[in-house]
Symmetry: C2
Subunit: 380 residues, 2 copies
């Protein structure tokens, strides 16, 4: 449908521009701006509400720095350090956490033999980058219940110890929405050789309710080679403004910095600092998102379709048929849904939009699955 | 005065955050926000007018993409390609041209023996990065008239041919403001082995009046391994928003992309497209800047101090005494001026501010140099 490789699509979904024609980009972005405006956007795990009022105000204030290199930055890096109770040299900022995932790849996958070990499917950008720099990804299939297979990750890491650059864990996992428990994280970190770096991507941290989940930041404080990434893209609605960070040891942060080429714009430094303080808006986004997710999951269940238990701002429906025609059928109804995530090609990833978008999603789902509209797509 | 290495200071001046304490950052940035506001900013070669109205409008429009990954981007990459009459795959976008300078370093300085060849002083970030990744910089002194020594660059490149990763040329040069002529560029490119990449940094392109100067983009079209970088930071006043690009061969662009980790925010994509179309504002900025530069150069000349002929938005005054105490004296008078550029330690780099800032600069210059206020600095 699109002249895009999965790797290009993933780059795009992460805010990086693959080398596309304007026509390709326009189709990917939902067509012209008017078409884009008209779409229900349940495809990229974005926060549909946009940045909170506090962040918008901070950005307006920071407009006066738009032409500057040196300016007050509202002490964003110190604010992040304080938030986690760590020192500033444990924090490395990035243009989205996606930049930091790439930086970890460039830091630890330095030769053709180095390997990243992680689950499949997971957030694919790490594996695609590994391939693009001629390293290798050892992908461990999910368990039958779509949880991550920690013992298998441990075994693979030990088996390939000499070539393993790092272990990647997305928690909660994208695209499944399932968590790795606190107990499993400890099992992993205690089970692999202690010098193997572990990258733990907590992009969806703020949406988790399950008390079996916990952040892995404390392991950094123990001095383990753990890199925890966070983003302002999700809970704070700043994906297009590009701000994320990693918490890691000062030694790893220094090493990573050599490979980092991005810089952060003036507006998002102020927006991020404001959003970090605005816990009320974080709570609101979480509450609205979880309520809408629960309702949508119940709605599709009432139509006979089960979803995986999710702890994020998206969920996966087992649609019991190939996903690509369904994605196309949704698009024809002006609802954008997630791309295919092989090998889970009979599951549909749905990002939780705003209330109006979720009404449109559920209505389209009903038309496609109950009224049998698949194949009726004439859209592009 | 500041607990900063020159390399950290250069990083900072390029919009990258070295790992500073808030107090250090605040001092570097001119103190608290109120102090920063109160300073005349003639230190970072910024455009004092800010983004043009057209770009501000475009950014306001693009606020609706602040929470998105996928969105219409006003076809910025295609607009840049069209502007230069090249294809889209000749364009690589970056978070400021500084990102692309770093990317070239990471692409071509891959082993401990690789070297970059270029003038000294020039924009130091390229050499500092080379050192930080354990490569080496072969720095060719400027000629007695502070022009770049092209024959010496050719000789050094040929002599170290096997280890040269690339040649760096800033044109016009920072910090001197002097151009390399069209004829000299051809002499360089024809004089070195044809497979040596040449990075030509045209950050100050838009301020040049001298007809002996010309852009090096046509050499890319000849298929030579030339990388021309441009930025929206200067003429378009978008330094804090982070947008630049390189024009190069598709093969080099692909190679560079593997080392690029930054991404560009939604607002600056729209701002850049608007600024590119806004040739009227570019003309206004150029006209105002050159008039103010000429006046300031005449004013200090009237006080007995010669400046180097500049084709940029800054100029260098030969102050005939050590520069650091003079920088401190200016700061005490609430005028920020350029950092020291060794070995030119009796030259002061002055960025052209707005009319008010230039009045303050000239008044401070008079107090320091005519009324002898150096040493009277009690500021920090």
């Amino acid at each position: 449908m699109l002249a895009l490789t999965p790797s290009e699509l993933a780059l795009f979904a992460q805010g990086q521009q693959p080398n596309l024609s304007p026509a390709e980009l326009a189709r990917l972005q939902g067509g012209s701006e008017a078409e884009w405006d008209s779409m229900a956007k349940c495809n990229f795990n974005e926060n549909p509400y946009g940045p909170p009022e506090s962040a918008l105000k901070a950005m307006s204030h920071a407009y006066k720095f738009a032409n500057r290199y040196g300016y007050p930055d509202d002490n964003i890096q110190q604010a992040i350090a304080d938030h986690h109770g760590v020192k500033r040299d444990h924090v490395i900022m990035g243009a989205g956490s996606g930049e930091l995932l790439n930086v970890v790849g460039l830091t630890y996958l330095t030769t053709n033999d180095t390997k990243v070990v992680g689950s499949d499917p997971s957030y694919g950008s790490v594996y695609q980058q590994a391939t693009s720099i001629r390293a290798e990804a050892i992908k461990i299939p999910l368990l039958p219940d779509y949880r991550q297979d920690i013992p298998a990750i441990i075994s693979a890491t030990k088996k390939h110890y000499r070539e393993v650059g790092f272990v990647y864990l997305c928690n909660p996992n994208n695209p499944t929405g399932r968590i790795v428990t606190k107990r499993e994280i400890r099992q992993l970190l205690d089970g692999i050789p202690e010098d193997v770096p572990v990258l733990i991507d907590e992009a969806y941290h703020h949406f988790v309710d399950d008390s079996d989940y916990g952040t892995s930041v404390p392991y950094v404080m123990e001095g383990r080679p753990v890199i925890v990434t966070r983003t302002f893209s999700k809970i704070s609605g700043l994906a297009g403004m590009r701000l994320g960070y990693a918490i890691t040891t000062p030694a790893i942060a220094l090493k990573m910095r050599e490979h980092q080429t991005g810089t952060i714009n003036a507006l998002v430094q102020w927006a991020g600092a404001a959003a970090l303080r605005d816990t009320a808006s974080q709570e609101q986004v979480k509450k609205a998102t979880l309520e809408l997710r629960k309702k949508a999951v119940a709605d599709v269940k009432a139509m006979g379709y089960e979803s995986l238990p999710s702890e994020t701002n998206f969920f996966m429906v087992h649609i019991k048929r190939p996903v690509q025609p369904v994605i196309d059928a949704f698009k024809a109804k002006k609802v954008l849904v997630g791309r295919p995530f092989p090998p889970m090609l009979q599951h549909l990833r749905v990002s939780v939009g705003n209330p109006d978008e979720m009404v449109r999603f559920t209505a389209a789902f009903k038309e496609i699955f109950v009224n049998g509209a698949v194949g009726g797509s004439r859209g592009g």
